[in-house]
Amino acid sequence: MFEYDFMQHALIAGGIVALLAGVVGYFLVLRGQTFAGHALSHVGFAGATGAVLIGLSPMGGLIAVTLAGGMAMGYFGDRLQGSDIAIGSVLSLSLGVGMLFLHFYTSYATQATALLFGNVLGVGTDTLWWLGIMALVSLVVLACLARPLLFISLQPELAEAKGVSLRLVSMLFLAIVALATAASVQIVGVLLVFTLMVGPGATAQKLTVRLGPGILLAALIALAETWLGIALAYFTDWPTSFWITALSATAYMLASLQASRNT
């Protein structure tokens, strides 16, 4: 299967997205904000349709609006309790606005909707470079942000008393999540990004409570699930999304059983 260009690209692109989503997802799961991962992969719709309406590149619109959506979610949901309401409000507003844009758009909106359907089997060389750079930027910013982020996630009152701005850190974090989703969605598809953000992080947290090994484990699980899923898709000709979601769910269930047996 390595003799085909598209399979090599699928494994590389899948690998990059897996590492990125695994690490970002670990923090999302830790903060109980997985809903944000789901929401942000749909928020870009309004950006894509809006950009088409005024004649700009739908891709630029998608990234800009996803980023703005992530920061709005962080601003209004700086405290974890109730943050899903902020996320839900931003999601529904952006879907509604996207509908409005399409209403005003009086021709065939194929180019706006086409952006929302990525496929891991359809990645070109240019896209790989671009994806790699976006992933690197996201991971570096996340590494700088990791300490205050953990502090406000685990001990928000103490963090606030020490002068850490909950609002600023949660906005920055969701901006990273937004960047990661916007970059990955149109390359590998909505379902795959969300699966890789939730499954591996949750599985890793069932297996270890320690932070460093947990993040590493989440990234490795995501990578293993992605590569195995692509290989299984190659041999069965079933959709890649199915195999990766199935592997992710199975890994989580097995880890849960293991964890409950240990207690």
Partner: protein, 289 residues
Amino acid sequence: MSALTKLFAFAALALSTALASAADQPLAVVAAENFYGDLVQQVGGPHVQVTSIMNNPDQDPHLFEASVSTARALSAARLVIYNGMDYDPWMTKLLTAARAQGRAEIVVGRLLGKRSGDNPHLWYDPATMPTVARAIAARLQAVDPAHSADYRRNLDQVLASLAVIGQHVQSLRVRYAGTAVTATEPVFGLMAQALGLTMRNERFQLAVMNNTEPSASDIAAFERDLKSRQVRVLFYNNQASDPSAKRMRTLAQQSGVKVVGISETMPAGRHYQDWMRSQLDQLEKALNH
């Protein structure tokens, strides 16, 4: 497709790649949509082996995840044909990922000078297929000059049979130009234009196709047209219909407006010409009524 036929298809594909250098091997062609694939088959005859990706009228062409076998077929193809205009965006992506040397491409939208944002259902325009058939013949002759004469002969036959459709359209146009009709989706739009029919409720159709909600005034106008029989015929897309489109069909039947069912993708086992003829016959019967 059953698992067994799939296995055979794989085996055949693997074999065709292995034997690609063999002299009289049919050219591997991939068509994104089966009506283009059918046209390639008609022009290429026994010298081509066509794989069509969208070949089932029951699937919604806009929601489609390409499989590994599709990508693999593209890697082995010598000629690829697809609609373009973001109607099949997965195809552009798969082609950049599955590079292949010496693979010819026909993008129908580009061939006709259309842009994204125009009505993408180009194969419903009677002027489209003759142009596409000529382009197919030219590419096949370039890739496989040994059978050039066969391709030319087949092309003449195909053009003759497409001309019959063109005459059918003209004769309907003479009798029915200016007749008001409507549709739940813009699939038939270019054909209706060629027939000189007056297409009403286009905003409703766009909303259905773009998966947004038709506005209240669009729905009211549509219902008024049907109830007061302002329109003679309702074109209904059998393939990708949503609840509001189904409601309009029921309303049309109740008010006595003729419903003509059309499909976006060609039904399996048909040829493009038969498919168009049967749809035009259906329309003629409805208009005669």
